[in-house]
């Protein structure tokens, strides 16, 4: 499969809808022929990144965008919750942050477009056949 264009989804900012985002991410990763352990890590990283955003600020929507850059799977999860003060000093000592960091190859926090965001990359170990 050739690289697809960016995929995005926006859902209400509640834990129940985080499930939808993780399924979207898993679906995209699977179509890029990632192995299932990698897919599972993408799924977990999305979940933890989302909970990081939900814990930090009162948000109404969460948005997931996935694209490909330099052979990796790039994922951005953002919320419309108050971007000022994002990230707070505490974020870097939270458990979800440690998990996202551990599961992805490169992770950063930003406020691009006025939205608090967690951005991470997962190197896709495309399976050779």
């Amino acid at each position: 499969m050739t690289d697809p264009p960016a995929v995005s989804a926006e859902v209400p900012a509640t834990p129940e809808f985080v499930q939808v985002l993780r399924n979207v991410a898993a679906g995209v990763a699977s179509r890029l022929d990632m192995a299932i352990d990698q897919i599972e890590e993408v799924r977990l990283a999305v979940t933890e990144a989302a909970s990081l955003l939900l814990d930090e600020a009162e948000a109404t929507t969460l948005r997931l965008t996935i694209w490909r850059e330099s052979g990796g799977l790039d994922v951005r999860i953002s919320s419309d919750g108050a971007p000022h003060g994002w990230p707070s000093d505490d974020v870097l000592t939270t458990w979800p942050w440690m998990v996202v960091k551990g599961l992805s190859d490169d992770v950063r926090l930003d406020t691009e477009g006025g939205r608090a965001a967690v951005v991470f990359q997962k190197r896709s170990e495309r399976v050779a056949r």
Partner: protein, 246 residues
């Protein structure tokens, strides 16, 4: 059903033939009379990899069984009774041949199938399979595979006593036999107090994965369990922590 399932003869004549049944002539006449019914179902099962002649023969066998066992006193028309018997015989034929008739599976059955396929592919390839590989091996859709994987990761709780690797040692034993003790730092535990409530093995895995930065493969080697097992335990324990945090 179509005209093929009916006979041209008056009902009384048919009933008379059934009454004479142990008589091989009557049996044969009935079989000839209802052969179109058998042929009709044989055609409906055609195109699934079995020659139509074989299917007709199987359906005819079903028809003969139906003729022998039919009981008019039950008030069910013979064609209805025969149809069920013939279809049953055809299905058995496919089953004996190892052909799976396309029957809808429920999520649980799919999950069991996917689980088994993942294990064997993982073993065969020495790495995690892709969704496509699982779908092709299990002959189900890729989306079904994804759904099943999600269900499996979230809800399976492997017993500590489930045999791993060589069947002689259990997961519990391999943790216990590790020389290394997992002195998890206080600093780390303070990040997520709920870590204290996790079983030791899960806590150890999370520690190695997220504090020491080991890969799943490295952890699997250290603990002497399969990488699939590590992957699952990571998912499950993260899930537990998240539920506790709420």
């Amino acid at each position: 059903m179509t005209d093929e399932t009916r006979t041209s003869r008056p009902e009384e004549e048919i009933a008379a033939l059934f009454a004479r049944r142990p008589d091989p002539d009557a049996r044969e006449e009935l079989a000839r009379e209802f052969l179109p019914l058998a042929e009709y179902f044989a055609r409906r099962f055609a195109g699934r990899g079995e020659p139509v002649e074989d299917l007709t023969q199987t359906a005819s066998l079903g028809l003969l069984n139906a003729i022998d066992r039919f009981d008019a006193a039950r008030g069910v028309p013979f064609s209805t009774y025969a149809a069920a018997t013939i279809v049953g015989e055809l299905k058995r034929h496919f089953r004996d041949r190892g052909w799976a008739l396309r029957v809808p599976r429920n999520v649980q059955e799919t999950a069991i199938l996917v689980n088994r396929t993942v294990s064997s592919l993982w073993q065969e390839k020495g790495r995690a399979p892709t969704v496509q590989e699982i779908a092709q091996t299990a002959v189900i859709g890729e989306d079904d595979v994804l759904l099943a994987l999600d269900a499996l990761q979230a809800y399976t709780t492997d017993s500590l006593d489930a045999p791993i690797g060589d069947a002689s040692s259990t997961a519990a034993e391999s943790i216990g036999s590790e020389d290394r003790s997992f002195e998890v730092s206080e600093e780390w535990l303070s990040v997520a107090p709920a870590l204290r409530d996790l079983p030791e093995r899960e806590r150890a895995i999370l520690y190695l994965r997220f504090f020491e930065g080991l890969t799943q493969t490295e952890i699997a080697q250290q603990l002497g369990i399969s990488q699939m097992h590590v992957s699952r335990l990571v998912s499950q324990s993260l899930e537990k922590l998240r539920k506790k945090a709420r």
